[in-house]
């Protein structure tokens, strides 16, 4: 697998990964603001599904029709849609694309959900690797509390209730997130994650992020005026 830079794309893709509640969305938002205010061609991409895929996914979730295999496939469909319709065209057009979650979320989640790792990796092999990946590593208890304090109602699949970890949604969620963290850590070296200590202050993390991005990416190249 190659990065977008290695494949000769003019754009660069920066991905953030981490558990729910690790603060990654705040960090990528601040990174986007910084790049924007510098007048660079930047685009923020979330996991926004097309209506069609969304309709099937929500039906499947509502009716708990999904097995690990179909859960994995429907999310891969969703990702492919985002990849082909949004990410690739932007990267061809020379944008800095910031992704809140990328293929590593699927690698970790689907493997925890018992899918064979090689199969899952194969599914996503059409996607290029990010040019930079930030992994926000927080203590499991910290991220759990951030989620569990603010949003007491856990969704069925979100809590991994179909996996039979526990009949208590909170306990199930804890086990699920704990295993996700193990998977992320196991991938960290293989995919050269830039590990950010998410227990630090927002500002400390952001300063590290901005420095790493400025060091690794030739930012003036992405100036609107230059294009």
């Amino acid at each position: 697998m190659k990065t977008f830079a290695e494949l000769g794309f003019p754009g660069r893709l920066i991905a953030v990964e981490g558990l729910d509640g690790s603060g990654k969305s705040t960090q990528i938002y601040l990174l986007k603001r910084w790049l924007e205010l510098r007048g660079l061609k930047v685009f923020f991409s979330e996991w926004n599904s097309s209506e069609l895929v969304k309709s099937a996914t929500s039906k499947g979730k509502k009716m708990t029709l999904l097995t690990p295999t179909t859960f994995s496939l429907i999310h891969a469909t969703d990702f492919a849609d985002r990849y082909e319709r949004q990410l690739v065209p932007l990267l061809r057009a020379g944008y800095l694309v910031l992704c809140d979650r990328y293929i590593f979320t699927a690698f970790a989640r689907d493997v925890v959900r018992t899918c064979p790792p090689e199969w899952v990796r194969g599914l996503y092999s059409f996607a290029a690797l990010p040019d930079m990946t930030f992994f926000f590593r927080a203590d499991l208890e910290v991220s759990l509390n951030r989620i569990l304090d603010g949003r007491p109602e856990l969704k069925y699949f979100e809590a991994g209730m179909d996996m039979g970890f526990s009949t208590d949604p909170y306990e199930s969620f804890r086990i699920f997130q704990g295993r996700m963290l193990e998977q992320y850590l196991a991938m960290s070296r293989e995919f050269s994650f830039n590990v950010i200590n998410a227990n630090e202050t927002v500002e400390t993390q952001q300063a590290i992020l901005r420095k790493l991005v400025a060091d690794r990416i030739d930012l003036p190249n992405y100036d609107f005026k230059k294009a």
Binding site: S50, T69, A80, G122, F126
Partner: protein, 254 residues
């Protein structure tokens, strides 16, 4: 008592003796990694796949096979493409709007397939049913290969599919295919004509070119997966007699 043609057909479909043949179980396996948590040993039923282009007579043949199998005391269930409760509606809409790009559409079809594997095929095979599949992963793979998708990627994707007990490919000449398509639909189908590929702006021309490309891929896949080629230019009855004979030997575990 005079025998009406319909009655004659019914009699032909019924077994000669009241004896019901117990199918001999044969080991099942997946093409690749398979579905998590499935014990292949417990899949006692038989999986029979009928492949072929649109208009090759697949559904007619399957309907007659169901009659015959049920008449012989076997429980049957049917699967096919775009029939899952999970995504079939959305898939239909996606095709009509032609809005999804190729990897997305390919994965959407795989989702539809996987849903049927888990919710229909595996439970039925466990219960000892005869599962008749109107098309299978070979059609999905051939369509995608013609559209330039990577074959290794497709093989991994469809590692979730069971190896069938028999695969029959209804082979039909392009001339016959055109005739039958017009007889069936009065017009050529956009996707079956491969119009998305831009082979030709003329639909008839595109249909012939696309079906030739598909036939080529099927021929190649046949050498990999070993389907039985069945000459479908013959009468429905002749083709069906041929299929029954072959399925009988599948039931006998040969």
């Amino acid at each position: 008592m005079a025998t009406t043609p319909r009655k004659a057909k019914r009699l032909a479909a019924a077994p000669r003796t009241p004896e019901v043949i117990i199918p001999k179980p044969t080991p099942k396996r997946f093409y690749g990694e398979g579905i998590p948590g499935v014990d292949e040993e417990k899949l006692r039923g038989k999986l029979i796949v009928v492949e072929g282009a649109d208009g090759s007579g697949r559904s007619t043949q399957i309907a007659q096979l169901v009659q015959w199998l049920e008449g012989s005391g076997h429980a049957t269930v049917q699967v096919g493409l775009k029939r899952s409760s999970l995504v079939s509606e959305e898939l239909e809409k996606a095709q009509q709007g032609n809005i999804l790009s190729r990897t997305t559409l390919s994965l959407f079809y795989a989702t539809d397939f996987a849903d049927q594997v888990e919710n229909i095929m595996l439970p039925a095979l466990k219960a000892g049913f005869m599962v008749l599949a109107d098309r299978y992963i070979y059609t999905l793979m051939a369509r995608d290969i013609v559209r330039g998708m990577d074959e290794t990627w497709l093989k991994n994707l469809y590692g979730i599919a069971l190896v069938p007990d028999a695969v029959f490919y209804l082979n039909i000449s392009p001339e016959q295919l055109v005739q039958r398509n017009f007889a069936k639909n009065k017009a050529l189908d956009y996707w079956e004509s491969g119009m998305d590929l831009g082979l030709s702006r003329d639909m008839f021309d595109s249909f012939l070119k696309y079906q030739a490309l598909m036939a080529l891929q099927f021929k190649r896949l046949q050498s990999v997966y070993g389907f039985e080629m069945v000459d479908a230019d013959r009468s429905t009855e002749d083709v069906n007699a041929d299929l029954r004979r072959k399925i009988e030997s599948v039931l006998a575990g040969r």
